[in-house]
């Protein structure tokens, strides 16, 4: 059994001393603004809604030592995973010495990106007077890059999941490598969309590279390096100050993943969080060996899960940099669910990763009750649709996450219908845009009355969405947390789990959780009922006026009110 400790150490000890605090702040702001410019450029030129609406991408800068300089607020699920990509991408093309100005490296190996081959990274090395000073990197979800299906929940090895580019130059010193370009085209079911997105990613990463180079030019390389070291020390101090407030101790929580998509068996796992002064160790070794279906979570995404939990708990609302993560140590077991090895399938890596985030937060409920809410609907509820349009014969595809209810807290009801925290910046596509684009009619887009877990504070409501399909098409359902109800805390009751039902034209109905390529004949209706938040505190302690207000507005029905809150009548 091989135990792996992932830690973050200071790359250049002592460099921060003597850095001007004013210049450091100016550079810190400049880095965050440059990352934001890269993000805006990508959003505004991307072709696929997964990028421009769902914001299923990350943009970041790394320094020459592969420490994260800045990441624009996009998909938290990709938090910090780009560092692994950059390292592997650069190694793939022969290391830093093989890099030239104008290079763009393409990399999408799941064991280095942390996710599926659809999440492809573009890495651009940045030079200042011929010295490599860092990298701009974008990782974004392509609609399709081969694989057995456009979105897979039943793969048994990584090679079924898509074509892998293990760090290859798409641009070599500014010149397009047409062989690679043609390989991409030949391996995608939606080559036009993917090429559009590739162009957007290249343009975005280059925009970023220019912005970073300008920042280095303005301040000089030595000042830049010292200020960055000071900036990391600053990020580290912020997070350490927060952890310092936690009582030292060992905190645990455990839960169960529905299944691996291939073998219909529940997968139990647990987290152990050890707080020692201002340092925190997260242990994710309490889990099965890597499983046969695609819910294995490659190390970069396990790291991201820990980082997201920390950013939500302790980040003080700041855009994180490498320093924020220095107080953290992660312990994993090689060959396990949270640290799988090739060729374990990992297309649905987000299921264990997302689950771990909420569980890490929950483990600290006792230590910092004000900072820990009850469970949310707990999943991104990804649905991916595709088909061939009647009439024109054109292929089409679309995919999106869907919002869930949030857990109640010690002082407030949970919010209704927000994206799960790993996709918290993602926007939900308007029904009118969907209908203008896809052969659907949205028949219902509503909050689900009674769905919030009862409590002194109740959970946020889940969403009821009904799609009537107007042409034959296929659906892949990526739903997780369909069996486990969102937990309440301190006596609060659970909310409702996620559920997907297909109602066929002949009246038959069937539920799906992880299922690839469900055929939907014209006239079928897909009902998505997303999970709600758990309650906090005993329902008997809920303010009777709050119960009556919920009743008046129809957030709960009279039956539900009498059953859970008889004291209000």
């Amino acid at each position: 059994m091989t135990i792996v400790r992932t830690v973050y150490t200071e790359a250049n000890p002592g460099l921060a001393e003597g850095a001007d605090p004013v210049v450091t702040e100016i550079i810190r702001q400049g880095l965050n603004a440059a990352a934001d410019q890269m993000k805006q450029s990508l959003i505004r030129t991307a072709f696929s809604p997964i990028i421009y609406e769902a914001l299923d991408f990350a943009v970041a800068f790394y320094d020459a030592d592969l420490c994260m300089l800045a990441q624009a607020p996009t998909l938290p699920a990709f938090m910090g995973t780009l560092g692994f990509c950059v390292r592997e991408a650069v190694d793939g093309v022969g290391g830093p010495a093989a890099l030239a100005s104008g290079d763009v490296i393409l990399y999408n190996d799941p064991y280095g990106t942390g996710s599926h081959p659809q999440d492809a990274a573009m890495v651009v090395p940045i030079f200042h007077e011929d010295v490599l000073v860092g990298y701009s990197a974008i990782k974004a979800h392509w609609l399709d890059i081969g694989g057995k299906d456009p979105y897979c929940t039943d793969t048994v090895d990584v090679h079924q999941e898509g074509t892998i580019f293990p760090g290859v130059k798409l641009y070599d010193a500014g010149r397009l490598v047409t062989d690679i370009y043609r390989m991409i085209l030949a391996n995608s079911r939606m080559p036009e969309m993917v090429i559009g997105d590739i162009n957007a990613m290249v343009a975005g990463a280059r925009t970023g590279a220019e912005a970073l180079a300008a920042l280095v030019r303005r301040h000089g390389l030595d000042t830049f390096r010292r200020s960055v070291a000071r900036m990391y020390a600053h990020g580290e101090a912020l997070v350490r100050a927060w952890f310092e407030r936690l009582p030292d101790g060992v905190y645990t929580a455990d839960s169960v993943i529905d299944s691996d998509g291939v073998n219909q068996e529940p997968i139990p796992f647990g987290v152990t969080v050890t707080v020692d002064g201002s340092s925190v160790t997260v242990d994710l070794t309490d889990c099965p060996d890597q499983v046969g279906g695609p819910v294995n979570c490659p190390l970069p995404s396990t790291v991201a899960a820990v980082r997201i939990a920390v950013a939500f708990l302790a980040g003080a609302g700041e855009q994180p940099n490498e320093g924020h993560f220095r107080p953290l140590e992660l312990v994993t077991r090689l060959g396990s669910l949270f640290h799988p090895v090739r060729p374990a399938p990992c297309f649905m890596y987000g299921i264990p990763s997302d689950h771990a985030i909420e569980l890490i937060i929950r483990s600290l409920a006792e230590a910092v009750p004000d900072s820990v809410p009850a469970a949310s609907g707990g999943d991104i509820n990804a649905l991916v649709w595709w088909g061939t349009r009647e009439g024109t014969g054109e292929p089409w595809a679309d995919g999106a996450p869907h919002p869930v209810g949030q857990g109640a807290s010690r002082s407030a009801d949970g919010a209704s219908a927000l994206m799960y925290i790993s996709e918290s910046a993602t926007r939900f596509t308007p029904a009118e845009v969907w209908e203008a684009r896809n052969p659907w009619r949205i028949e219902r887009l509503a909050l689900a009355a009674d769905s919030g877990g009862p409590g002194r504070f109740r959970g946020g409501l889940g969403l009821d969405l009904s799609f009537r399909v107007l042409e034959d098409q296929y659906l892949t359902s990526g739903l997780a947390r369909t069996a486990l109800a969102p937990w309440g805390l301190e006596g609060g009751l659970p909310g409702r789990p996620n559920r997907l039902t297909v109602e066929y034209p002949d009246g038959r109905a069937e539920d799906f959780s992880l299922k690839t390529r469900v055929f939907l004949p014209k006239g079928a209706v897909v009902h998505l009922r997303t999970g709600s938040g758990g309650g906090y505190g005993p329902p008997s302690e809920r303010d009777p006026e709050a119960v009556r207000a919920d009743l008046r507005e129809g957030y709960i029905t009279p039956e539900h009110a009498r059953r859970h809150y008889p004291h209000a009548f």
């Binding site: 100016i26 343009a203 926007r427």
Partner: protein
């Protein structure tokens, strides 16, 4: 040319500017804003500065108001009822599922403007192509009417799915509501917006309904009061998308005025840029709490077609003015990680900066500027004597936790960080439009803008800074230069091909019919995109002469400029926009500065950021100043102080502007 009054109601002060066409005279006045009844402050400013005879000669009274915005900020508007398509009553509450702060576990959206019990559903359905899939259930509308009567609903918003493509059901529902006896205002989504995206359109329509019942009475009351004082001209209200609306239009479409606050400054900059022939200009407006910036190209205002206010999206044209929390009142602090930070928290007008001596103990940007000599110690700001000692006392405690040597260095850092924030905001507005800021001229105005012009120029490698006359009141000057503008839009998703042009022409003609702009210039713009993309670029078209190729080439050029590449993919029309513009006074001159009356002359101890050292620097009065003179120096006028660093030279331009030129690259 006509005589025009502009009155802008700000958060703290109500500013008045009058341009008398007969004499060329300029009058300005400033009165405290009266938030509970803003018309009182407006009338007080009129009474203070405008004799009755002069008021009677005014052709236009251009009003910038925050009544609509305040109604939203304070949630004081009408009790609104919403009628929507069955299955969609929660659109307003579901929003788009995102969080304002993506890293806040507990983030909760603000309560919707219409509570759930007042969101009524009607069975009906229109498809995206406008075809009717299900007829309107009229009983559902009548039931809603009864509910609204019982609940005391004052205004109704009707938003049906896909109504942008076919408004029949919305019109019929409104008719039924009237027949059922509802007499309050009714806002129909296809009239308010006409664009797709049901959450954004619902929000815009509900905001319209919510503020209308405050805006109409307010404007009519103000109009009546002005007329009773002898005013015989036309009352105009500034618009979020630039220009102004007539009173009747503003009362009927108040949502178009809500984001108009920062527009006047950008509009004044655009007019100035056109007059001086500045190809690319950046408005740099530094006020007490924020820095507002906009990119002006060839004298044109940068327009966007969706804005956001208090977290609510509005499908309405608005001038792309970006605001960051960096102004004179922005508070400096040392964060828990030991870095010096500035803003976005502000000391506001009360207690204000520490140097005001009104109980503010936290150091602000103004305190730092005073400490560095950028504001002369004897300068009186709004009748307040500034205390340099109080500023120094507030700044000194930041040295320890940040490891900075002393109060001088802290003050320098605070101003530099504030300037860097401002420069970042300018980079944002330029980079996103594919413009290199280095070729721009910075137009610095607002109470503190001229203090920062040189610093921002150095951050951005810009060589020219322009300080307009009346720099502190320059935004209000924008009001007296406004055109009368109306606009309407409709979403029409289809390929841009030869068949598209007649359809677009028909749609534009229908939109112009609604705009009723007698004697107006008509403008048509199209939102276009490459097929497969979602985001659009808006390009102007001339329907009588353009063919599809010409329109495509214009789009392609705009796309290349914004994003640096061209794509071969076919184009798609998304939205048709129609605008009418009546130009009131194309040749109204720049408003010169009023006499200074300022005690100037002599020298002061002034910090040079370029030299990182103190200097004995001259303090010059703006009135009578011709230059050229080389920094470091100060130029003072009643409403602003201009800081010129070493390495910059300043001279007065014939237009009345101060032109500052960077002599070396620092």
């Amino acid at each position: 040319m006509t005589t025009v009054i502009g009155v802008d109601v700000g958060g703290t002060f109500t500013d008045l500017v009058l341009h008398d066409a007969a004499t060329g005279e300029i009058r300005v006045a400033k009165q405290p804003t009266t938030p509970a009844a803003p018309e009182l402050g407006v009338l007080a400013a009129v009474d203070a500065a405008v004799p009755a005879g002069l008021l009677a000669r005014c052709a236009h009274f251009v009003h910038g108001t925050t009544v609509g915005l305040n109604a939203l900020l304070e949630s004081r508007g009408a009790a609104v009822g919403l009628i929507t398509t069955r299955g969609f009553r929660d659109v307003l509450e579901i929003r788009r599922g995102d969080r304002d702060d993506p890293y806040d576990l507990f983030w909760t959206p603000p309560p919707p403007l219409v509570p759930r019990r007042l969101r009524a559903e009607a069975s009906e359905r229109v498809a995206a192509d406008g075809s009717v899939v299900g007829g309107l259930d009229e009983d559902d509308v009548l039931r809603a009417a009864r509910l609204f009567a019982e609940e005391g609903v004052e205004a109704v918003a009707i938003v049906l799915v896909n109504s942008y493509a076919n408004p029949g059901h919305e019109l019929r529902a409104a008719e039924l509501l009237r027949e059922a006896g509802f007499t309050g205002p009714v806002s129909l989504s296809h009239e308010v917006s006409g664009e797709y995206r049901e959450y954004e359109r619902t929000c815009t329509t509900v905001v319209d309904a919510f503020v209308r019942h405050r805006m109409g009475p307010y404007l009519h009351n103000l109009d009546r009061e002005l007329r009773s004082r002898g005013f015989g001209g036309e009352l105009l209200v500034t618009r979020s998308g630039g220009g102004a609306l007539t009173l009747a239009e503003a009362a009927a479409r108040p949502f178009e005025t809500i984001l108009s606050g920062p527009v006047a400054g950008a509009a004044a900059t655009a007019r100035l840029a056109a007059t001086l022939g500045l190809g690319t200009a950046v408005a740099a407006d530094v006020g007490g709490t924020s820095f507002d910036t906009a990119l002006i190209e060839d004298g044109r205002l940068p327009l966007l077609y969706q804005g956001e206010v208090v977290g609510l999206p509005l499908q309405s044209p608005w001038v792309d003015v970006r605001s960051v929390g960096a102004g004179g009142g922005s508070i400096a602090y040392a964060d828990s990680g030991g870095l010096l930070r500035v803003g976005p928290r502000s000391a506001g007008a009360d207690p204000g900066p520490a140097c005001y001596g009104r109980g503010g103990a936290e150091p602000t940007v103004t305190d730092a500027a005073l400490h560095l000599g950028m504001i002369p110690a004897w300068h009186i700001s709004g009748g307040i004597e500034l205390s340099a000692d109080a500023a120094a006392d507030a700044l000194a405690p930041l040295a320890g936790p940040t490891g900075i040597a002393d109060a001088d260095t802290v003050a320098e850092g605070v101003v530099r960080i504030a300037a860097a924030h401002m420069a970042q905001a300018v980079r944002g507005v330029t980079v996103e439009r594919g413009v290199d800021a280095r070729g721009a001229a910075i137009v610095a105005f607002g109470g503190a803008g001229p203090l920062f012009g040189c610093l921002i120029a150095d951050e951005l490698d810009v060589d020219t800074v322009v300080v307009p006359p009346n720099a502190g009141n320059f935004s209000a000057v924008g009001l007296v230069q406004a055109d009368v503008v109306r606009s309407a839009a409709r979403t029409l998703v289809r390929p841009l091909d030869a068949d598209a042009l007649p359809v677009i022409e028909g749609l534009a003609a229908a939109l112009f019919d609604r705009l009723d702009g007698a004697g107006a210039v008509r403008e048509v713009d199209l939102d276009l995109r490459h097929r497969g993309q979602e985001h659009t670029l808006t390009v102007p078209v001339r329907l009588e002469e353009d063919d599809v190729e010409a329109i495509g080439a214009r789009f392609s050029a705009a796309y290349h400029r914004s994003f640096g590449h061209r794509l071969p993919d076919p184009l798609e029309v998304v939205t048709v926009r129609a605008t009418t513009r009546v130009v009131l006074d194309a040749d109204r001159p720049l408003v010169p500065a009023p006499p200074s009356g300022e005690a100037a002359g002599g020298a002061t101890r002034l910090w040079s950021f370029r030299r990182r050292a103190w200097a004995e620097a001259p303090v010059l009065a703006r009135e009578g100043f011709t230059g050229p003179a080389e920094g470091p120096l100060l130029v003072i006028e009643p409403t602003a102080t201009t800081y010129v660093d070493a390495g910059f030279a300043v001279e007065a331009h014939g237009s009345g502007c101060l032109m500052i030129t960077r002599k070396d690259r620092g």
